[in-house]
């Protein structure tokens, strides 16, 4: 028998105002002062947004903000990248949702899959930003040779197609993750080119799969198992390498990227490259070997103690000198190297936090089972510690994303730096500074806000499953 809760007493708007705005005399006083103040501010902002603002500076240069000086004839690469990333995103979300469903079923709980609309609603800031872009794009009178609505619509369709990965039977759940990783790499290389040297990321992914997938359990000899796994990895790596050598079509390297595209890519590349380094640093700092611990600690504290901009200057002026004479690295390569080394120190601290928060009993349980230290670390400690620090890692990604704006100081034309081109144009020489800055701020805000919301949600979910 079910009982329904009594309906809450009807609350009239007057009640609501009395309770929330005029609870006592000083609350009322503040409300009375704030309402006209906020009204005036809102009036001035709306007036600026719709009447006085010279938004031409943004509207005319919309493409410049998005892709900067990326060659115009190669824009199809960016669009293909967007489509493939949307597909990978959809597969990832679908697989994740299906994996949650698996867990819920295992625990004997019901599970209700959220709809794509809910996902979009969660990321309302991004939706708003893209709508703003579309709004500007429709009023653009310089002519577009690609319909922006088609691009956005296509990306949505690709995401929806990818989301169907949740229909995969449970046996092949991991195929979803594999597809996500593969498409992320392919999407990246659609722009950077499938040249012969680009086989490494896919070889790592498929090599890892081969390592896990070879049926070696039936063999008793450890050496034989090891040899079989090695052979499997070697075969896969050779195949991947051969495919890349056969395709070998160069693309547009990151030296030619700019605009919002560069901003997003630089932060993603830096965090991906920084993660293994940060993990090693964290393990070294927690190590019982004093030499490793001291070196890791010094590195982490020095990097965390100086501002990123001084490191970037160091990178621009010095990094070339640190390598054998004649080595030339482009400005963006140097910046990515510095940002990687920089975020590795922060990631190390985050991972260390996760390791420290883990109960000592986990380690002892592993020892009681007779496991050696490396398997304990790999199979017991790290999976738990790394899961626990995912929200903090997203936070680090957000902060790296925001920090990538510093590249504009060292004359790299990322999202903020593109303004320099715009304000060098005859029409906008010394006007509309505020308009372009507000647009850039909205762009950064939309991405950072969506990601921070997502990380808060992850944090809540992790706390529940604890």
């Amino acid at each position: 028998m079910t009982t329904t809760a009594p309906a809450p007493p009807q609350q009239t708007p007057v009640d609501w105002v009395r309770k929330n705005l005029f609870k006592n005399w000083w609350s009322g006083l503040i409300s009375v002062i704030l309402v006209p103040l906020i009204g005036y501010m809102a009036y001035r902002s709306l007036r600026f947004f719709f009447v006085t603002g010279q938004w031409d500076a943004v509207r005319v240069n919309l493409k410049l903000f998005m892709k900067g000086t990326f060659p115009n004839m190669q824009i199809w690469r960016l669009i293909a990248q967007m489509m493939i990333f949307a597909l990978a995103f959809g597969i990832g979300v679908g697989t994740n949702s299906a994996a949650s469903q698996d867990r819920a079923e295992d625990a004997g709980l019901g599970y209700e899959r959220g709809s794509i609309l809910q996902t979009l609603a969660r990321m309302w800031s991004l939706v708003a930003f893209i709508s703003l872009l579309l709004f500007f794009a429709t009023t653009d009178d310089v002519g577009n040779f690609i319909n922006p609505f088609l691009v956005v619509g296509g990306a949505l369709v690709m995401a929806a197609i990818g989301y169907q990965a949740h229909r995969f039977p449970r046996r092949i759940r991991n195929v979803g993750w594999l597809l996500t990783a593969t498409f992320l790499v392919i999407g990246f290389q659609v722009v950077s080119g499938f040249d012969a040297g680009g086989w490494v990321p896919l070889a790592i992914i498929f090599g890892g799969v081969a390592y896990g997938a070879v049926p070696v359990e039936r063999f008793d000899s450890a050496w034989l198992r090891f040899a079989l796994r090695l052979i499997a990895i070697a075969v896969v790596v050779l195949i991947v390498q051969a495919v890349y050598r056969a395709v070998d079509s160069p693309g547009i390297g990151w030296d030619k990227w700019s605009g919002l595209h560069l901003t997003l890519m630089v932060s993603a590349i830096a965090i991906v490259l920084a993660f293994p380094l940060g993990l090693l640093l964290a393990l070294a700092r927690r190590s019982t070997l004093p030499a490793l611990r001291i070196m890791a600690t010094v590195y982490i504290e020095v990097i965390r103690g100086v501002p990123l901009i001084t490191l970037l200057f160091m990178g621009q002026f010095i990094l070339g000198f640190l390598l054998p004479g004649g080595t030339v690295l482009s400005a963006i390569t140097r910046a990515i190297a510095v940002m990687t080394l920089f975020s590795a120190a922060y990631i190390a601290e985050i991972v260390r936090g996760g390791l420290q928060a883990l109960d000592k009993g986990q380690n002892e349980a592993g020892q009681a089972l007779g496991m050696a230290p490396p398997p304990i670390m790999r199979r017991i400690i790290l999976p738990q510690a790394l899961t626990a620090v995912i929200p903090a890692m997203v936070g680090q990604f957000i902060s790296l994303f925001k920090d990538s704006s510093l590249l504009s100081i060292i004359a790299i034309l990322e999202f903020l730096g593109v303004r320099k081109i715009i304000h060098a144009q005859a029409d906008f020489r010394s006007v509309a500074f505020a308009e372009t800055l507000i647009f850039v701020a909205i762009g950064y805000w939309a991405f950072a806000f969506a990601m921070s919301r997502e990380s808060q949600r992850l944090e809540r979910r992790l706390r529940v499953t604890r």
């Binding site: 030499a291 103690g305 501002p307 160091m314 000198f321 054998p324 500074f433 701020a441 806000f449």
Partner: protein
């Protein structure tokens, strides 16, 4: 029945072969790691030196004593012929000034925002949430450039497009002049060497701290009101006044005066637009982070404390002032100090608006041909000293807190 304790058999423990002996592996592994790091470091250093020699760049720190050859914006006292280390000193001072005022702004604003987010007034809470979510998710550099390029200099918000003067009541002295891109406020003009004055002030500071501790002890033993803040400030002000007259008035007040063509401000202390951009932008940005810390700390104080305060009939403001906030501050202090550290490091973004802080000055001097490596090593060293000092304070505070909270 007695059980005989059996003498454990002393068995020769066969040591594993050396390549599987943990003790050997540990030592060898560490030696290898150190060798690898030292080797890479040595290789990099050798490349650096050979490359610098090849290009004819000096590898010594002698350049510090060569002339600067550039003026520092908004600093008329700086002589362009004075050596580079003087320029570094000015840069450190400017970094410190921006950080100091930024920290004050961030703390006050953060406290207000943090408390407002928990307000029962819907409007106040919403406004504070909006503030936090807005500023926290925008790069500080964008905010700094916004203030620099759109608020204080050109753009649609020419707040200070014409000059205003605000007089000190009943005199002709200007308390504040707001001109195009700079503010003038009353300042001091130095006449004699101030070293002795600073020394006496330092002694006053130490005496003030001693008095603070004495008043705390009296309060703890007798329950008399301690008034330790008044004692502390009173002693320092007293020392300052005595030193001022004893040393024969080594400085005097100077009031800002606007020039005939209303372009220049003479006398007083001049606040330029770069300083204002950096300070206000970083203050607002960091306040959004501190606000979240304060809010979290207030929520972390057990609700029973508030109920207890209610039970002894404290008013809402007394409850905050005497029960909740002191405990919340203890939780909030370590992360807040971290935010202060971030703020200090972020002052280096003043480069983007031409504020003459350490990084910007160094960048200019490197652009004028000074060796980049040595220059930036000095800059990094200065920031590292700032950071390590704050870390030390943090550790000290953490220890104190742990003692207090048992």
């Amino acid at each position: 029945m007695t059980t005989e304790t059996q003498e454990p058999q002393r068995r020769e423990v066969a040591r594993p072969p050396f390549y599987r002996d943990v003790r050997v592996i540990r030592v060898v592994g560490q030696i290898l790691a150190v060798l690898a790091v030292v080797g890479i470091g040595f290789w990099l250093a050798r490349n650096l030196i050979s490359n610098m020699n090849r290009l004819g760049i000096s590898t010594s720190f002698d350049f510090l004593f060569g002339p600067t050859n550039t003026a520092i914006p908004y600093n008329d006292e700086f002589n362009p012929r004075s050596p580079i280390w003087q320029m570094v000193r000015v840069g450190v001072k400017n970094t410190f000034l921006a950080a100091f005022f930024g920290i004050i702004l961030a703390s006050v604003m953060g406290l207000v925002v943090g408390i407002s987010r928990l307000s029962e007034n819907w409007l106040v809470a919403r406004l504070a949430t909006f503030y936090v979510e807005f500023f926290r998710n925008i790069p500080p550099l964008v905010i700094i450039i916004f203030f620099g390029a759109a608020v204080f200099t050109n753009g649609p918000f020419p707040i200070f497009s014409e000059s205003w003067e605000i007089n000190f009541p009943a005199t002709d002295n200007n308390l504040l002049i707001i001109n195009n891109d700079k503010w003038g406020i009353p300042g001091f003009t130095q006449i004699d060497d101030l070293l002795l004055f600073y020394i006496i002030l330092g002694i006053g500071f130490v005496v003030g701290i001693l008095a603070w501790r004495w008043r705390t002890r009296v309060f703890e033993q007798t329950g008399q009101p301690h008034h330790r803040v008044l004692w502390f400030i009173g002693i320092i002000v007293g020392f300052a006044i005595v030193a001022f007259f004893a040393l024969g008035q080594p400085f005097h007040m100077s009031w800002p005066v606007i020039s005939e063509n209303r372009r220049r401000i003479d006398g007083g202390f001049i606040v330029n637009w770069g300083f204002m951009s950096v300070t206000i932008a970083l203050g607002l940005y960091t306040a959004s982070h501190i606000g979240e810390i304060i809010r979290g700390s207030i929520l972390a104080v057990p609700y029973g404390q508030s109920e207890a305060a209610n039970a002894v009939a404290l008013s809402a403001s007394q409850r905050y002032r005497y029960v909740v906030l002191p405990q919340a501050m203890r939780i909030a202090l370590p992360p807040t100090l971290n935010q202060y550290l971030n703020l200090v490091k972020n002052t280096s973004l003043g480069t983007a608006v031409g504020y003459a802080e350490l990084t910007a000055l160094t960048k200019t001097s490197v652009g004028n041909g000074r060796p980049a490596f040595q220059s930036f090593i000095i800059v990094m060293g200065v920031y590292l000293v700032f950071s390590l000092t704050i870390s030390l304070v943090l550790n000290f505070v953490n220890r104190r807190m742990q003692l207090v909270s048992r």
